[in-house]
Amino acid sequence: MKVRTHMSMLFHLDKCIGCHTCSIACKNIWTDRKGAEYMWWNNVETRPGAGYPTGWEDQDRFKGGWEYKDGHLDLRLHSRTQGLFRLFFNPALPSIDDYYDPYTFRYSDLFTSPEGEDQPTAVPVSMITGEVMTPASGPNWDDDLGGSPLYAQNDPNLKGLDPGVRAQLSEIEGVVFQYLPRICNHCLNPGCVAACPTGAIYKRAEDGVVLVNENKCKAWRMCVAACPYKKVYYNWATGKSEKCILCFPRLETGQAPACAHSCVGRIRYMGVLLYDADRIPEAAMVPDDQLVESQLGIILDPFDPEVIAAAKAEGIDDGWIKAAQNSPIYKFVKVWRLAFPLHPEYRTLAMMFYVPPLSPVVSTLEKALRASQGKEGLVRLDIPETDLDFEVYESLERARMPVKYLANLFTAGNESLVVPALKKMLAVRILKRQESLEGGVTEKALRVLQDAGLTLEEAEAIYRLTTLPTLEERFVLPPYHREMAAEVWKDPLAHKGETGFGYIQPPLRGE
């Protein structure tokens, strides 16, 4: 057992309101630069939808992630030799149009236009060429299902869905969507690291952050194609690849990443996970439907004395072990089994986790009733409001957001993992609603809890961490001990007074 620590983020999708504040926070800090205008290290997608870059989940085209065949785990992009032969042209690389032509508006026109009959307008101009253009796509072009006949229907996660269910997804009054915020998954078995011919990308053992060494990067741009999540970007101005750095400068100073910190819906949690680095290959080499289980299998119990001893032997300090024990991620992922990695079938062992969203069921039930009675117009379920939740609980398979769709996103199509998670969340909701409607814990609510496999204490804990967590409960950040790291790098006395000085080279293209 080789214990390592990992900083992980968790997205509670049931709370995401799709406001894009995370994206803006990230953009303002990291990608508001020449060559990086089109990059969104953090982006929010509407699902069903094609995402950003458009159709990124289509691995037949973009060749991201790993393929498990005949007992071998291979990059879908290339073998090592193939990689060298494709240095001059990489057929799987997305082009800027797969993202979008970044644009701004020429606001100065508003002031400098000659006087005339019409109001002056600020014309859109490309941020690459500076020429006037007509924006035709963007990072959230199909936000809230805008243009869904063009975008949402191309969502690869809709495969395996009953045609009737597919049609129902886009019906008036039955239309449904959810949001999917995405950052780099800081995988345990990253495709980008494996694909980089130069070896410029690496994973930090201390906290699992995957970083590009900009000084080593030589623009072979294999990482862009090999990342199945399309979360490595190529800066066309500097000729270097860039990606989400999990705001490590913030983590090292005890702050949550900007996207998490700014989250309006407070959907994001940060915490430490302990994992067994020795078992990474075996976790990635199992059939699709077992991938989630195998990945959770190498995430270790931070309370297990054996794990603690092994962690200490690896030089992991007490602060980190304590943070792992208090980690909200560990609770959601391992204890309550409510969260899953995004697209485990890519076999990169993504380390950011998602709690799947609940969706309205009632209207679907009402529609079925309407159809059975052959009536037009609105038909209401004739059930007392206090019992409505139970009806929903029993009819999860008719949820507006099909379970199969969620399974395609989060469990490689394995519905038997998603359903228990949704049932647990519903059971907690029922418990809490009964408490406020009936004034206490009811017998019926307890029966649902038992059916979902939760104790009253667990349900209470899930409720508290979901709806009422404080900042410190959402972000359990370990001490990075930068003071010690600095001493290792440099003798503080010898370099006293130097901080902030030196030569800063502007990131120019070439020389």
Binding site: L75, R80, T81, G83, L84, L87, F88, F89, N90, L93, P94, S95, I96, S126, I128, T129, G130, E131, N189, P190, V193, A194, P197, T198, G199, I201, Y202, K203, R204, A205, E206, E214, N215, K216, C217, K218, A219, W220, R221, V224, Y234, W236, A237, T238, G239, K240, A277, M484, A485, V488, W489, Q505, P507, L508, R509, G510, E511
Partner: protein
């Protein structure tokens, strides 16, 4: 000192010195600037035809030049049979033309595609022009003064060795025709431009990739000790 000595006896040393010293400095102290500066993100189709043709054409032709430099006798022996000579010359000419066409495609692409033009520096154009002159003068030499693989071992091999062994004999070049002289001089220009341009990416070809393990994990603290 006449022009010939200046261009073929002195300038090569300036170019070589620049190539070695500036490249070493840049690799060590300005590593961020070292990059192949790919523009594939901005335009793909014309790059596909241009880049593959230029790169492979140049790599293979340069390998041929290197062979002639290292084993001139072997080359002459190979050429002893006319059929083998024709085969070699046709292959060389074909590859040269391939590189020439590829470079032309890349140059016109860089000039005419607005996005690529926006990302270009004057050095990017200069590099393509130098390579274009190199490919053009090389192809013309091959067409007009056949057969190059016959006289290269007799003229160019001793000239290049005379430069590398610090006993320059520029007079070997003096009587060559214009296109060939241009080809040789352009090579030294190429070397002089090399450290100041994206051309440095040539020495960073990541052959080590074949041997390294897939994953790279770094302990920042252990690294520092």
């Amino acid at each position: 000192m006449n022009w010939n000595t200046l261009l073929f006896g002195v300038f090569p040393y300036i170019a070589l010195t620049l190539a070695v010293v500036v490249t070493a400095y840049r690799m060590a102290y300005r590593p961020f600037s070292v990059s192949a500066q790919s523009s594939q993100l901005l335009e793909q189709k014309r790059l596909f035809y241009g880049s593959i043709a230029m790169h492979w054409g140049l790599v293979l032709v340069l390998l041929g030049h290197l062979l002639a430099l290292l084993i001139p006798k072997g080359l002459l022996l190979w050429n002893a049979v006319p059929l083998r000579l024709y085969l070699l010359e046709i292959t060389g000419l074909g590859l040269g033309l391939w590189a020439l066409v590829g470079t032309w495609v890349l140059l016109t692409r860089r000039l005419s595609v607005a996005r690529v033009r926006a990302a270009s520096t004057s050095m990017d154009y200069l590099v393509l022009v130098v390579i274009l002159v190199s490919a053009l003068s090389g192809v013309l030499t091959a067409l007009l003064y056949r057969f190059g693989s016959y006289w290269f071992p007799a003229v160019m091999t001793p000239y290049l060795w005379s430069i590398f062994t610090l006993q320059p004999r520029p007079e070997l070049i003096a009587d060559l025709p214009f296109w060939t002289q241009l080809h040789v001089f352009n090579f030294w220009v190429f070397l002089a431009v090399f450290p100041f341009s994206r051309l440095v990416h040539i020495i960073t070809v990541p052959l080590g990739y074949v041997l390294r393990p897939w994953q790279i994990v770094i302990w920042v603290r252990k690294l520092a000790r």
